[in-house]
Amino acid sequence: MFFHIILERNMQLHPRHFGRNLRDNLVAKLMKDVEGTCSGRHGFVVAITGIENIGKGLIRDGTGFVTFPVKYQCVVFRPFKGEILEAVVTMVNKMGFFAEAGPVQIFVSNHLIPDDMEFQSGDMPNYTTSDGSVKIQKDSEVRLKIIGTRVDATEIFCIGTIKDDFLGVINDPATA
């Protein structure tokens, strides 16, 4: 799920950036530092959308670096148990398949793939129905439901299922 939230971060800025463009430099550094990171609490920071407030800088003894407390608005993506996501399959093996929905990785074990889909090994390992009408392989797009998440300080990993109504392949690269 996506959220638009306000976060705060203490930015350290090298003295060479001081001057007219201090603010711009600060924001550029913030984007570079923050976008694409993941925190267990808030999820993946997708994009910074605005600066709320920049506090007074504090000069660090000895180094000359200045620390600015920056409040910024950003879009974050946080997967939840029970959430339905659309994801792209990245890898298929005998144990199931891995997929990505944006920054988040999801594993679907073979127990949570419909029973009528069989694993086929080979160049392009895949899960296929007996009549061959539905095939899950690398780059297939699937709709899945998250049934578990593991949230570490800097990482979120999910497991999902496609064994439920309206889940499964939504776009087959072979036919597209």
């Binding site: 093996n93 199931g96 891995f98 594993f107 127990h111 949570l112 049934i147 578990g148 998440t149 990993f157």
Partner: protein
């Protein structure tokens, strides 16, 4: 539309799912005395015999406290079985019925002396069959799915075990376990091939104690599922029976009223369960008149007796209505010849007999003014009506006679009643106060009053348009 299969569905569902629902206030002690389990079923059953019903009336019928009923109703509203509507209306629409109101006094209407138009919020409820069908199916689906999911270990995190070192992993570790070499997960310790745990259980049937527990659990789930299918079979059967039938649809309260009006259905004994006792109770409520309970008599008497009420009624609605023939007959005991007369004369009679009304002049002027097509309608209608009435003259009781005549009218002369109704509407739009009935609508009480009447018709669908209208103007 046939209600029976759907009502059966409701009854089955009530017994299956709402049998032991107890709706208590949170602060009430859970003593045996306040145990009201089963009420839910009674309420649902009662609702299958009604359409839209005022909740106070229902409470009376069921001899329940209004509060208690409300709680149950609210519960079912949350369960999406019941549609509810609340609206503010005059507690006592018409002074004309003060006598009747006094007879069946209850705390809800205003005092007799109080002449202000007071608004009270009334709640109405009725079963929402279409939704009930869906709700029951959904409930069954959820039950089945939950049991089956548990049975199949669906939505549980897959566990893996290393056959060499017995280290356990879950699917959440999957990312760390994949190997570039083959299609299996590998142990982080010994690089052994991991096995999915359920496979292992399947492999070694006689597991340790843990596995036994798991198996017992499976057994239990299985038997629960089986029991569910068994015990709910009648309900499921009824669902399939109902599947292709058109769902009874009452619409919202207003639409339902309108339809009840238009249909002018006759007969006391139809699906909406209006037996006379009930209707009389309803009458007690805020003086909302039932069309054919002999109220006409009361009206006339009232008009004669009560001067001050007249004043009030004037303010509310302008004019006195010409009494239609059946009304005259009941109130005044006119002879047959008189009743057989054409409309103008009837009109004269009406105005003269009820000369006690202070707004007499106005009305008479107005009535004299219009010799329009209306008269034609009315004449034709009255003629038909009189004929009918004469036929029914022999019927034993006045009440019965009246109601039956209405009913008969509904049967024979639907078209004519419709026309009259339409006419009224059109004139209403024009703002042309040609007819007294309209005036009653246009002035004073207006909507509230009108609604109250409508209501009655709902409660008692055998009511007729004309009756309603008459009452309306008399009511003022």
């Amino acid at each position: 539309m046939s209600l029976e299969p759907f009502n059966r569905l409701v009854k089955l569902a009530a017994r299956a799912f709402y049998d032991d629902i107890s709706t208590k206030g949170d602060n009430q002690p859970k003593t045996g005395r306040s145990d009201n389990r089963g009420i839910a079923v009674v309420v649902l059953d009662a609702l299958t015999r009604r359409q839209w019903v005022r909740e106070e009336d229902l409470a009376k019928d069921l001899k329940l406290h209004t509060k208690q009923l409300r709680r149950t109703i609210r519960f079912f509203e949350e369960e999406k079985l019941i549609a509810r509507e609340h609206r503010r209306e005059t507690a006592k629409g018409a002074k004309i019925f003060s006598a009747a109101v006094a007879a069946t006094a209850d705390g809800h209407h205003t005092k007799e002396g109080e002449e202000k138009v007071k608004l009270h919020t009334h709640s109405y409820c009725c079963l929402d069959y279409a939704q009930i069908y869906d709700v029951v199916r959904y409930r069954l689906h959820r039950m089945r799915k939950k049991l089956k999911d548990e049975l199949e270990n669906k939505n549980t995190v897959q566990e893996y075990i290393c056959p060499n070192c017995s280290r356990r992993y879950t699917a959440l570790d999957a990312l760390r376990l994949i190997s570039p070499d083959d299609e299996y997960f590998h142990c982080e310790n010994c690089n052994g091939k991991l096995e999915a745990e359920s496979d292992k259980i399947a492999a070694q049937e006689a597991g340790d104690g843990d596995d036994n527990a798991r198996r017992r659990r499976r057994e239990k789930l299985k038997s629960m599922l089986q029991k569910m299918e068994e015990q709910l079979k009648p309900l499921v059967d009824q669902l399939t029976r109902v599947k292709d039938l058109p769902v009874p649809e009452f619409g919202n309260l207003q639409a339902w009223e309108a339809r009840a009006h238009a249909a002018g259905r006759g007969g006391l004994g139809d699906g909406s369960s209006n037996d006379p006792s009930k209707s009389s109770q309803g009458l007690g409520y805020g003086g909302t008149p039932m069309p054919f309970l002999g109220d006409t008599k009361v009206e006339v008497a009232f008009a004669g007796l009560d001067g001050k009420d007249d004043v009030k009624s004037e303010t509310v609605s302008a004019s006195l209505k010409v009494l239609p023939p059946w009304m005259i007959k009941q109130g005044m005991n006119l002879t047959k010849e008189q009743r057989g007369e054409v409309k103008e004369e009837v009109k004269m009679d009406g105005t003269s007999t009820s000369s006690t009304f202070s707004d007499d002049k106005k009305s008479s002027v107005e009535t004299d003014d219009k010799k329009s097509i209306q008269d034609e309608y009315v004449k034709a209608y009255y003629a038909a009506l009189l004929k009918k009435q004469q036929e029914l003259e022999e019927a034993a009781k006045k009440q019965q006679e009246l109601s039956s005549s209405n009913a008969a009218n509904g049967d024979t002369g639907t078209s004519s009643t419709r026309q009259v109704g339409m006419k009224l509407k059109r004139e209403d739009d024009e703002g042309d106060e040609d007819v007294e009935w309209e005036e009653s609508n246009v002035a004073g009480n207006t909507n509230e009053n009108y609604k109250v009447n409508d209501l009655n018709v709902q409660a008692e669908p055998s009511g007729e348009d004309e009756d309603e209208d008459d009452i309306d103007w008399e009511e003022g």
